[in-house]
């Protein structure tokens, strides 16, 4: 890939950024490539050294606040006509409530994920508690002379302890997974705003 192709690909994928930001980014990468070529690298090597277009774009998207991407996206390309403004305002009870409903559904789905995690931790906690309970009741049974019952509750308690330790790792892994998922969702939402117009 030569410099021109690299910059053009970058320009298209960054179509969702405000013009000024995008030009500044492109100038920055252009300078970086030129400086490498000046040092003796070939054009292709210099471009490869800067990184792949997709990596660069991903990094830029995660650096850019979502509000900026949304603002650029909804900014009208021309002045709105009067009837369009009337329509938007008059239609607000419909589109606004639909938009809110959509956002609420998405949010509750996300919340469900976290409640699952909370439930997992609760189960883990309950298992740990039943280990304690098993030990205490085993002692009580033993003192009163019920040998078999003491053994049985102690065994059940130990089983719970084992299950609790085992589940603990599962809980940690699940929580980490949701955190990772959150990052990907945020990145996905952002690229939704930045990419759509790239093809025009």
């Amino acid at each position: 890939m030569n410099k021109q192709e690299f910059l053009e690909a970058l320009r298209q994928k960054l179509a969702g950024l405000p013009q000024e930001d995008r030009d500044e980014r492109l100038n920055f990468y252009s300078e970086m490539i030129d400086d490498r070529m000046e040092e003796g690298l070939s054009e292709e090597e210099a471009v490869a050294d800067v990184g792949s277009v997709d990596d660069v774009v991903t990094q830029i998207i995660s650096d850019t606040p979502l509000s900026k991407l949304v603002k650029e996206k909804v900014k009208p390309k021309r002045r709105l006509r009067v009837w369009e403004i009337v329509l938007i305002v008059a239609g607000a009870p419909i589109w606004l409530s639909l938009l809110l409903a959509g956002a609420a559904v998405a949010f509750s789905l996300y919340l469900t994920l976290w409640s699952l995690i909370a439930a997992l931790w609760a189960v883990d906690f309950a298992l740990a508690m039943s280990f304690l309970y098993g030990c205490v009741s085993a002692v009580v049974f033993a003192v009163r002379g019920y040998g078999f019952s003491a053994l049985a509750t102690l065994g059940a308690g130990l089983f719970s302890a084992g299950a609790a330790v085992f589940l603990f790792f599962g809980c940690v892994a699940a929580a980490k997974g949701v955190v990772r998922l959150t990052k990907r969702i945020v990145l996905g939402i952002k690229s939704l705003f930045i990419r759509k117009e790239g093809s025009k």
Binding site: R25, N27, F28, Y29, E31, M32, D34, D35, R36, E38, V50, G51, D55, V56, Q59, I60, D63
Partner: protein
């Protein structure tokens, strides 16, 4: 390395790279290469952040028939470096204390 820690260190590293004379993007990356890994995109973000915080200023100058941006450290940039030095003097004395305990055992 811890991400928050690395982020703070990168800011200071970039300031240190321009503390003696004005420098440009690729020069900064080359200068820091032996110490800390820094990609183009990360550098851009840091430079932008430092510029907004008025720790450096940017000027554009012609070089070999094209434009190149040079970065110049400001007084508050130098103050940031001085803060860093003082902070780390403290951290290093704690470090020496912690490792000394280990040796005695």
């Amino acid at each position: 390395m811890d991400i928050q820690l690395k982020r703070g260190l990168l800011d200071v590293c970039v300031l240190a790279a321009i503390k003696n004379e004005d420098s440009y993007g690729y020069q900064i990356i080359k200068e820091l290469k032996p110490y800390i890994k820094l990609s183009e995109s990360t550098l851009y973000t840091i430079l932008k952040r430092l510029e907004t915080a008025e720790m450096l200023t940017v000027r554009t100058a012609e070089h070999n028939g094209r434009l190149r941006k040079y970065y110049h450290i400001t007084e508050s940039g130098r103050a940031r470096l001085e803060d860093f030095r003082r902070e780390w003097d403290e951290i290093m004395s704690i470090y020496r204390y912690v490792t000394k305990e280990e040796n005695n055992e």
